[in-house]
């Protein structure tokens, strides 16, 4: 796969931005104080790194998912945590961009792409990912309002977002896939309670919360797209953001790898550079190979997506492969750093935790495999 000239330029710009703006000490502070890097987001947005795949009329880049992935990779490579925070600012906006109406998009997307607002999407309800078919959150129609009741779990940017797309059941449970809709809810509506989920394995600077809706009223016009389409929309959204998550994983792995590589080339033990030990060399070779493999499948998925041939199987494969690879590569990076690898200062342990988080969100390996197996095996006779 060859990148176009403009893609190469975007990649380079993102690399330069990351190099100039990211500072690992600041990252550690933000992580410890659990504060979102608002300034950084603002700057990234000014350079057009938020919402690259959104239409230009809403402040987007008018580009594709490949471009968005290039930026995600470059940012996470330089700093896994800040990179992730910037990419996740728009988490949910992707869905609004694809399925929302013009008015909504003008009102919200412009702010998101300007780095002035965080997006939010609330799909799942259980403690362990979501089986959307057993949705308990309801939206009932009354005159010209939806009345929403229910509890959503694990909402990224929960409590900090400028809007939430909430997956609700609008009809009784009988029809399996119909009767579900996405409804946009403004955070200042009465009846919303946000419960932050506390310290996390990683990514503490990005909020994560449970959100409860108790008789929350929003205008009927807040419906995103059509009634009955909610499930399909959520799935399409997940298929898209899994590719972005894979790109983050590739960036994280590459970043951990960069650091390990530099380290083994410089550190001496037994009067030799670590990079002179065969075992070290082979580890480096393994890591480089794994990254390249994951990168290939990730960009292939993104490119197909841009060509209008989005493939859910490939999305799941890319997310699973890239996340596992990132965990393994970052783990090896820690090992190559020896005791230093265990220290916060050297960053790789944070990369490792960030990588692990990607493996844990948007469905674990098993859940990706279930999806892949379903699609590959098909219906049994």
């Amino acid at each position: 796969m060859e990148l176009t000239r403009s893609q190469k330029e975007i990649q380079k710009a993102a690399q330069e931005f990351a190099k100039g703006e990211f500072d690992k000490e600041v990252t550690v502070e933000l992580e410890q104080s659990r504060s979102y890097p608002a300034e950084l987001l603002q700057k990234a947005a000014e350079l057009g790194f938020v919402g690259l795949q959104f239409a230009e009329e809403y402040g987007g880049g008018g580009l594709g998912l490949v471009d968005a992935c290039l930026v995600a990779e470059a940012l996470c490579r330089k700093d896994s945590t800040m990179g992730s925070a910037v990419v996740l600012a728009a988490f949910g906006a992707e869905c609004l961009h694809r399925f929302g109406d013009k008015k909504m998009k003008e009102q919200y997307l412009e702010q998101v792409t300007a780095g002035k607002m965080l997006a939010g999407i609330a799909l799942g309800e259980s403690d362990r990912g979501d089986d959307f078919t057993v949705l308990d959150t309801t939206a009932t129609r009354s005159d010209n309002e939806w009345i929403i009741n229910g509890k959503k779990r694990y909402v990224t940017n929960g409590g900090a977002a400028g809007f939430y797309l909430v997956l609700c059941r609008t009809e009784a449970k009988h029809a399996e896939n119909s009767g579900v809709a996405l409804i946009l809810v403004e955070p200042d509506r009465p009846g919303i309670t946000v419960a932050d989920l506390g310290d996390k394995l990683a990514l503490n600077s990005v909020a994560l919360a449970d959100i409860t809706f108790a008789d929350v009223r929003v205008p009927l016009t807040n419906l995103v797209g059509k009634e009955g389409q909610g499930l399909a929309q959520a799935r399409a959204f997940l298929d898209e953001v899994k590719i972005l998550a894979a790109a983050r994983a590739v960036g994280i792995a590459a970043g951990a790898f960069d650091r390990a590589l530099a380290y083994v080339k410089q550190r001496e033990q037994f009067e030799r550079k670590l990079a002179q030990f065969q075992i070290t060399r082979h580890k480096i070779a393994d890591m480089a190979t794994k990254i390249e493999l994951a990168r290939l499948i990730t960009y292939r998925a993104a490119a197909d997506f841009d060509k209008g041939k989005a493939d859910p199987t490939l999305s799941a494969m890319a997310k699973m492969t890239a996340a596992r690879m990132a965990v393994e590569v970052a783990d090896e990076a820690i090992q190559l750093f020896g005791g230093y690898g265990y220290m916060t200062e050297q960053e790789v342990e944070r990369y490792y935790r960030d990588a692990k988080t990607i493996e844990l969100c948007l469905g674990t390996r098993e859940s990706q495999k279930d999806r892949i197996a379903d699609l590959v095996i098909g219906k049994l006779k």
């Binding site: 259980s126 200062e345 944070r350």
Partner: protein, 380 residues
């Protein structure tokens, strides 16, 4: 077949210790993890209760027990799910240097304090530029009259902030051969010229005060040398078998704890299709984890018996150190998957274990060093 023969005394010891830890340690662990240190008072309580240096002879204030008492302490501390209260390092790794190599006078001076928790020890070998390659150590120890003058710095030292007494490895710059230049010295906290650096921020082991130590014309009496001049390497080698075995016990105990949590979670948590352990993939994962834990435990128990019988099992303990620490990491990694999103939250106990076990393949000789040793002894 029971490989380990625990006596009634051992069982009572374990029960008393478990009660002690439940009362004095577990309720405070979260706080210590946040404060990044363990209060000295806990060491003292633990020592007074007879749980520190359980294998040290009674005449020096120890428990007069055997290595199984040490194993019990490691296992029970593992159940408290934190790593700050590093009494196993103290009791089973550092104090044995004193017990084996110190003069009678030094033993009388220090060992009773070590046993009752008044003296917290540390061992300082690693330096910023000498980790795996101990022979390249740069800290120097030069004789000057009746004194030894230490200069240099150490890093990653467990109990670095709390320690009252440090076993320091340093080199005589005048010795010709690297391996014969090394000696071990006892340095008391408060000795002029000995200072502690910053406490290091780490991925895990948060309640553990791992720190840098500095020696700047630090003068100690010559009598504070352990053993004969130049025998440092020999002493380190002698003690490594037990050190590695201790890490293997820690690793297996941690893995068993993780497995227990994961099993319970999967039994009690409902997934889309019933309890999680009804999912074949997750059930298989639990079986695979249990199998590795059982295999590791069996190997470990055998080595404990052999170690207690005085066998030389350097190859086997090196195998156990690398394999069980890798195993514990694999189990922690897999278990976190099973917890799914909950595995992303710090309040899920297993998250701490996950962070803590990661270091086991690094310290006490990295796993690559273990493999190198085995290769040297077994293959070359």
């Amino acid at each position: 077949m029971q490989l380990l023969s625990y006596t009634e005394d051992h069982h009572r010891f374990r029960a008393r210790l478990r009660k002690f830890l439940a009362e004095e340690v577990t309720p405070h662990v979260d706080q210590w993890e946040k404060e990044h240190i363990i209060p000295r008072a806990v060491w003292q309580k633990m020592g007074r209760a007879g749980f520190i240096c359980p294998a040290l002879p009674k005449e020096y204030g120890g428990g007069g027990g055997d290595f199984l008492h040490a194993v019990i302490v490691i296992e029970e501390i593992a159940r408290t799910n934190h790593s700050g209260l590093a009494t196993p390092l103290h009791s089973d790794i550092v104090v044995p240097y004193l017990e084996s190599y110190a003069t009678e006078e030094l033993k009388r001076k220090y060992l009773p304090g070590c046993a009752c928790g008044d003296i917290i020890t540390a061992v300082a070998m690693t330096e910023p530029n000498a980790g795996s390659d101990l022979a390249s150590m740069q800290t120097t120890a030069e004789e000057d009259g009746g004194e030894i003058v230490l200069n240099g710095s150490k890093t990653f030292i467990t109990n670095g902030i709390n320690c009252d007494l440090v076993v320091v490895a340093a080199k005589d710059p005048r010795a010709a051969e690297a391996h014969q230049a090394l000696s071990l010295y006892l340095v008391e906290a408060g000795t002029p010229g000995f200072s502690r650096g910053r406490r290091l921020e780490k991925m895990g082991y948060h309640s553990q005060d791992t720190a840098e130590l500095f020696f700047n014309n630090c003068r100690i009496p010559k009598s504070n040398r352990l053993g004969a001049a130049g025998t440092g390497f020999y002493m380190l080698m002698e003690k490594l078998q037990q050190e590695r075995l201790v890490v293997a016990v820690m690793a297996v105990a941690a893995a068993e704890g993780i497995l227990e949590q994961a099993m319970r979670y999967c039994r009690e948590t409902m997934g889309p299709k019933g309890p999680l352990n009804r999912s074949q993939a997750l059930a298989f994962a639990l079986v695979e984890m249990s199998t590795e834990v059982k295999i590791g435990r069996t190997f470990l128990d055998k080595l404990i018996v052999e170690h207690m019988a005085g066998s030389r099992i350097i190859v086997e303990t090196s195998m156990a150190k690398y394999w069980t620490s890798e195993m514990a990491k694999r189990i922690a990694d897999r278990a976190l998957d099973l917890f799914s999103q909950a595995g992303a939250l710090e309040k899920t106990p297993i998250v701490r274990t996950f962070r803590d076990v990661r270091v086991m393949s690094i310290f006490a000789g990295t796993n690559e060093i273990m493999k190198g040793i085995i290769a040297k002894m077994k293959i070359n």
